[in-house]
């Protein structure tokens, strides 16, 4: 498991660097600021929901508080940034409201399989009191994830997206 987790951690970090370089080279503005805002948004909600999830098996350097890892936070940041870039590129003419829902769909499609992968890797789990609420026994086909595990995805994604869009907006329009 050790090497597998290390490869996973490094691939997340590499993806962040590639995304950052891509955006910088393509002329996107305030790339670092955008990454920092997204990171803060994700970490804020990770801290709030920390007792619900178990992030075990990561290397010690990846942890920052309890079982919160900055590497996994970067993974979330990557998913959000990819969604924002993809939707803005192909559906840039839509209103912010419509794009907001497209971001959510995009992120869900990335995050749920990633969650299943992390569970199979043994680095992700659910707190006992949360497992008690997963009583339906229904499992998502192919991914083998409990149905209840995806309730929080749209809620937390909506919060983080709003946080990112809103803080960016305030900073962009400050005078």
């Amino acid at each position: 498991m050790g090497i597998g987790v290390l490869i996973y951690e490094l691939s997340i970090i590499a993806t962040t660097i590639i995304l950052w370089l891509f955006m910088t080279k393509k002329g996107y503005k305030n790339v670092t600021r955008k990454f920092i805002i997204l990171f803060v948004g994700v970490i804020l909600f990770e801290i709030i929901s920390e007792p619900m999830w178990l992030n075990t098996g990561f290397d010690s350097w990846a942890y920052i508080y309890g079982d919160i890892t900055w590497v996994l936070t970067l993974g979330w940041v990557n998913a959000f940034m990819l969604a924002i870039l993809g939707v803005d590129y192909f559906y840039g003419e839509l209103s912010e409201k419509k794009k907001f829902f497209l971001y959510l769909l995009f992120i869900s499609a990335l995050v749920i399989p990633a969650e299943a992968f992390m569970i199979s890797l043994g680095v992700r789990g659910y707190a006992e009191f949360l497992l008690e609420t997963m009583r339906s026994g229904i499992v998502i086909p192919v991914l083998y994830l409990p149905l209840e595990s995806i309730y929080a995805v749209p809620i937390f994604c909506a919060l983080i997206l709003s946080f990112y869009k809103y803080i960016n907006y305030l900073v962009d329009n400050r005078k």
Binding site: F90, G92, L105
Partner: protein, 163 residues
Amino acid sequence: MSLEVRYPSGQFRSELPSNVKSNRTDSSSGKFFKALVKIILTIGAIIMIIPIIVIVFCLGVLLIFSLGVTIPILKVMGTGTIFLTGFTIMNNKGISKKYTPLLVFLLIFSALFLAGQYDVQSLNCPLHTNYNQMMPTLQFFVSIIGFLGFFYNGFILIKKSRK
């Protein structure tokens, strides 16, 4: 969230740089990526249907069968919302629509914060969990800091914009 409105003091800026045109699918790679994005969005839509149905169902169950238990929560949340809205309007007669998301943030944080004060685990609904366990001291303080941060951010900016 009314992100669609055109704000008087600025708008959401596109993530795309000005030299990149949106929706360029003339090349084969452009077509491929557009198709890929469509597939990802379709998968996301299928995944998203599940929580929406469950949330609507659970809200129905909650309202029909547990009205007595939920009344105190709704009451406190309602009072909080009224207080927040009243306070905002009172202090900012010409409140800009750009602060609507701030209010939404505050309401969501209030909901999480207030949920921590109630043990709703006894309700037989998969949406419920023991928020008292979920909110130990640190998370509690983080919520308050986040709450105050958004509050401060919004109100100071509103005051500045009125000058």
